[in-house]
Structures are given as structure tokens and as C-alpha cells.
């Protein structure tokens, strides 16, 4: 989204937020409809299972509604919601990781046919990377998630995390290193000795 478009949207968001705070609850629907795709995407890429994406998305919006008075208009609503969605999704995946992994594995193991083994290996590696991402320092984990997984630009990540761009670059560098070390130590069979 370009600058003027983003500004216009931020103004519309702010108007809707103010309306909700003044008791016009219906104005919240506008925000839900506008951002449900973004929130669901964050949940999905954070590792929330397909069957839980809708629940997590709803929970994020209900949480946002409850904390709406804490939203400060000096940052865009989307940025505030983004952070809320990311934190909530990470908490959710941490809580249910073991159960979900167990329930998803049979479907993957059952996959049979050309490339199925490669898919399985890729899924497994992805899950290990995601787990390591949750385990490293959250400052690094969030920067890595925003830039590499969510595909945000460094300046966008800086705005979302409310830190200077230089800090994001440093966190990306240190985060990659921390992630690499953790993966090599915990899963040498998957990540050790690669060029």
C-alpha cells in the first residue's frame, strides 16, 4: 500500500476506533472485515493449524476490542493489531504445539506418492525452524518473523516493533546466528554440516 493510501486507511481506522470507544460497537465490524485476512495470515504463518486459524483470528479481534482504549493513535491501528496478532498467535502455537504436531503427523505420513518424502522432510524442517524461532530471544524471533516469514520491509518491521531500522538489522543478523546455533545444536541430523 502506498503512502497516501496508507494514510487514508489509517484515518478511517482511527475514526472507527473512536466510534467504538464512544459506544458504537458496530463500527468494530469495519475493522474486523478490513483486517481479518491479515490476522489470519499471521496466525497461519506463525504455525497455527488450519483448523484453528479462524478461532485464533476471532480471539485476536476480541482481545483487540477489549484493549482498544489502550490503542494510541501515534501509530497506525494496523501496526498495533499486527503486534497483538503476532503475540497471540505465538502464545497459541506454544501452548498447543505438541498436540497439533501429533494430530497432523498421521496425515503427512499417510502421504504417498512422488515427492511425498521430500514434502515430509520439508514440513519437518519447517516445524523445527518454527520451534527454534519461538525458543530464541523474542526480540530476534520477532524481527526474523516479520522480515523473512511475513515478508515485511525493514522499515515496516521497525515501525511495528517500535525500534530504529538499524536495530532491526542488528537483530536480524544476531537472530540468524542464534537460530543457526540452536538448530545445529538441537538437530544436527537435519541442520549440521551444511554448506
Amino acid at each position: 500500500m502506498t503512502g497516501p493510501e496508507a494514510d487514508a486507511r489509517a484515518r478511517e481506522d482511527l475514526r472507527a476506533v473512536r466510534a467504538v470507544l464512544e459506544g458504537e460497537t458496530d463500527a468494530f465490524r469495519e475493522l474486523v472485515e478490513r483486517y481479518q485476512g491479515m490476522v489470519a495470515g499471521i496466525a497461519w504463518r506463525t504455525g497455527v493449524g488450519r483448523e484453528d486459524v479462524e478461532d485464533v483470528t476471532s480471539e485476536v479481534f476480541v482481545k483487540a476490542y477489549g484493549s482498544l482504549a489502550q490503542f494510541r493513535p501515534d501509530h497506525p491501528f494496523a501496526t498495533w493489531l499486527y503486534r497483538l496478532a503476532m503475540n497471540h498467535s505465538i502464545d497459541h502455537t506454544r501452548k498447543g504445539r505438541r498436540e497439533r504436531l501429533r494430530s497432523e503427523m498421521p496425515a503427512q505420513v499417510a502421504a504417498d506418492g512422488p515427492g511425498a518424502e521430500a514434502d515430509l522432510e520439508r514440513d519437518e524442517r519447517g516445524e523445527l525452524v518454527r520451534r527454534a524461532l519461538d525458543a530464541i530471544d523474542p526480540r530476534y524471533g520477532n524481527a526474523l518473523r516479520l522480515v523473512y516469514v511475513e515478508g515485511r520491509k525493514v522499515e515496516e518491521a521497525a515501525a511495528i516493533l517500535d525500534v530504529p531500522e538499524g536495530t532491526i538489522k542488528t537483530r536480524l543478523m544476531r537472530g540468524r546466528e542464534a537460530l543457526r546455533r540452536m538448530l545445529e545444536r538441537r538437530h544436527p541430523e537435519h541442520f549440521g554440516g551444511e554448506g
Partner: protein, 145 residues
């Protein structure tokens, strides 16, 4: 493993959402059962609470204030008290304007603003007490009269 391959592993997690999500009705049904978020309505309540606290501060100051008025009467204390009162009103008006300009915020900010109202009252109480002490020192005793 190199940095570049780490970046590649991370970028593999960037998977597009496979389903269309529509949670608007569900969310609206849930929020309909919730109270309106702490916005200007509760904000007004907090403003009233902070003013109440300021009034308590004033009441605390009123005890010494009455004595001061008596003690400083020969020295134009009523004028001092009137100016003090006007200053207090002005300070409260500033706080009130600040509260309105903020238009909503976290509990911490609310508490801070309530605290500032009490602090103003306490400051005035302190000033009055200081004046009273000064006035007592200056008042001619029966022996020296």
C-alpha cells in the same frame, strides 16, 4: 549452515493462507456481550475520580488553611488565600485540558493524571503550611506588644 541458508529456511515458512477467513459475524456476536471498551465514558469517570482526589487534597489543606487565614489576617492573608485558590483552579484547569486532549489511554496514564491532581493539592497545602509557619514567626507576641 550458512547465514544465507538460514534465511532460506525462514523464507520457506512464508506460506500463503490456504483458506478464506470470515470471522466478522462471530466476532461481533462475541463483542456484543462485552462492555464498551474503557473509552471516553469511563474516562469521564476517571476524571471525576481525579477531581475528587484533588478535592480531598484541598480538604486536607483546608484545616491548616483556616488557621493560616486567621494567622495571616493582619497581613492580608485573605488576599493570599484568594490568589492561592485561583492558582489552584488554574492548575486543575490545565490538568483537565490535558485529560481532554489525551482523549483516552492506558490505566497507567489515568493514574498518573489523577496523581498530578492530588500532587497539585498537596503542593498548595505545603505552600500554605509554609506561609503559616512564616506568619507565626512574624506575628508579634503578647510579651513584645
Amino acid at each position: 549452515m550458512k547465514y544465507e541458508s538460514m534465511e532460506r529456511e525462514l523464507r520457506r515458512l512464508a506460506r500463503p493462507l490456504p483458506v478464506e477467513v470470515d470471522v466478522a459475524s462471530r466476532v461481533m456476536a462475541r463483542v456484543a456481550a462485552l462492555p464498551v471498551p474503557a473509552g471516553p465514558r469511563r474516562w469521564g469517570l476517571l476524571l471525576a475520580a481525579s477531581l475528587f482526589l484533588a478535592a480531598v487534597g484541598l480538604a486536607v489543606a483546608a484545616g491548616p488553611g483556616a488557621r493560616i487565614a486567621a494567622a495571616l489576617a493582619p497581613h492580608g492573608a485573605s488576599v493570599v488565600a484568594a490568589i492561592g485558590g485561583a492558582l489552584f483552579e488554574a492548575a486543575l484547569a490545565v490538568v483537565r485540558a490535558g485529560l481532554e486532549a489525551c482523549g483516552g489511554g492506558g490505566a497507567f496514564r489515568h493514574a498518573l493524571q489523577a496523581f498530578s491532581a492530588v500532587a497539585i493539592a498537596a503542593l498548595f497545602a505545603f505552600c500554605l503550611a509554609f506561609l503559616m509557619r512564616d506568619a507565626r514567626r512574624q506575628r508579634p507576641s503578647e510579651a513584645t506588644r
